[in-house]
Amino acid sequence: MDTQTWTFVIVGATFALYIGIAIWTRASSTKEFYVAGGGVPPLANGMATAADWMSAASFISMAGILSFAGYDGSVYLLGWTGGYVLLALLLAPYLRKFGKFTVPDFVGDRYYSKSARVVAVLCAIFVSFTYVAGQMRGVGVVFSRFLEVDITLGVLIGMALVFFYAVLGGMKGITYTQVAQYVVLIFAFMVPAIFISLMLTDNPIPQLGFGAELSGELGTRIAGVEATTLLSKLNGLHEELGFAAYTDGSKSTLDVFCITAALMVGTAGLPHVIVRFYTVPRVRDARTSAGWALLLIAILYTTAPAVAAFARTNLIDSVRDAHYDPAAAPAGERGVPEWFHTWESTGLLAWQDKNGDGRVQYVAGAAFAGAPEFTGETGAHGERLVANAPDASANELYIDRDIMVLANPEIARLPAWVIALVAAGALAAALSTAAGLLLVVSTAISHDLLKRTFLPEISEKRELLAARVAAAFAVGLAGYFGIHPPGFVAEVVAFAFGLAASTFFPAILLGIFTRTANREGVIAGMLSGLVFTAAYIVYFKFLGGTKAQLLFGISPEGIGTLGMAVNFVVAFVVSRFTPPPPLEVQELVEDIRVPKGAATPAHAH
């Protein structure tokens, strides 16, 4: 069978599986729709959380980013895993004890304020939509690359699928689909990684191969005469080509510190992750399921940097000074590998023969500005010509970072079914994240806005219907943004984390760890954190702020850390000078700190 057929078969089979699970796990009450009835076993919740968390970006783009950023990419690895420590130790067990269904539920009850609840709802919706648009786009892109269908059609297929299990099954359907999606995505990520590790270092465990000596089929050739470790070879290659050493960064330490902290705290404050911990039966299950979640996430997150280094070494070695037309290479010189031409035809790679020698010069610097615009004509060596004006640098090669994961199976010459598996894995990653986010949006509308704020008398049946309608509406809107992506998607992702870090995290943390944080303090804190962070990001991302103007050289991605500090200080000071929370709220705080006993009936679910 060819790759195309394999892809149809494997993607089709996984979709059939997801639909089967959705029918089997239909939600019949609001509690099942919002928190899967609160009866999800910790391991299953861990798998679902891992699939929920790892998006198309984690699956496809992260290894590519690491590959080109080297040490600087560590901010994502540390940030997106370290946040789970904060979540498991500081938030999840207490929120589970609190019970209820959503993050705005906690903010509204703990700070005895409808306005606090509404602010939290708006933040939750904004953060979730920011994210989900990217996921639907990801579905479309995977479809178009692997199945050669239109991106729009790909998004529509993804919408139909998510609609089916999110609207029917609610949290219950989503949870068990995510369990299946985790298995698909981790298998799809690990298989090529293991093969590449074997080829370059003769070690089947990528985490070990990453620090090993070059050996094996491809590794021995790359190492040359002298035995050397993968990383020192890679650092050497980087030095020869004028890049910063792979294991060394080019960002300032303070900036790396702040970005990492903002991503960690933002991760712990993201509503679609927090809400997963409401679905387990007991407080101690919340702790264990956070342990499972991070363990399962760590499998991918420690493999990705290894894949990044393997792919980078292999890329530099195989394209540097290779002849674009292998047939034209004189004896003893190499032509570019076959995948070079495959990926050039998808537009993710472009070569501009600046010095006209027919060979690929790959050094530090841009080949040209922006993404390639192909003219439709071919050049002297058969390459696709681009209309972009060449950059002054000697570099002739443009590479989209996503290639690092997508082309891995071809680079490692793996069979066609592995390529199909990668497509199914990328789809699983995108769909599982999209579904989790859409649920947050629908819950925010039907539960937080309708039931808890504007229509308290609504019957359970009608609330469930409202949740389904809201979910359907959210799927439609997300699909629209997937088909017509707003140009600022990449920019607003910084927003999502900055916002979660500077609003939710401090509000929830203070709500658990102090009895004295009150309504006035926390609302003032959230608003000042929000305004500070948003103003900084908007100024530098949209209003043309320059690098020299950055506060202490902190980039917009890291400003959430300062926003969080502002929030804490303001909340603390204002709480000091305003009346303390009512007694029953102070008792609520006492109550959520202990797993069992003395729960007032209002919190027993």
Partner: protein, 108 residues
């Protein structure tokens, strides 16, 4: 950055007007122990990520992780800290399970 949470938790020990059932005393001790456990684990969390992986990564890069080709600081930033994170959560879950039993708040 873990500092605000810890001091905020510690200052909570002043007396409260909550009903003085016998269990209330246990709850206070339970919470204080919890905050102590949290503090120790968060110091470790900070040390492996922000400490070894970021602030001191250049100094640590001078040596390799024994037996491998990893510069030590780089290893912490891209591998080691993540392994420690996983361990921290499991240790916390285990310690708290014991604590829950000791204070009679273990859920069946």
């Amino acid at each position: 950055m873990s500092a605000p949470s810890l001091t905020a938790g510690a200052e909570d020990s002043h007396p409260t007007s909550a009903p003085a059932a016998p269990a209330a005393i246990d709850r206070k001790a339970y919470w204080r122990t919890n905050v102590k456990v949290l503090g120790v684990l968060l110091v470790l969390w900070f040390a492996v990520s922000f400490g070894a992986g970021i602030l001191f990564h250049e100094e640590l890069d001078a040596v390799n992780l024994p037996g491998t080709g990893f510069p030590l600081g780089f290893w912490f930033a891209q591998q080691g800290a993540i392994f420690v994170f996983v361990a921290i959560i499991w240790v916390y879950a285990a310690v708290m399970n014991r604590l829950d039993r000791r204070f009679g708040v273990y859920e069946d």
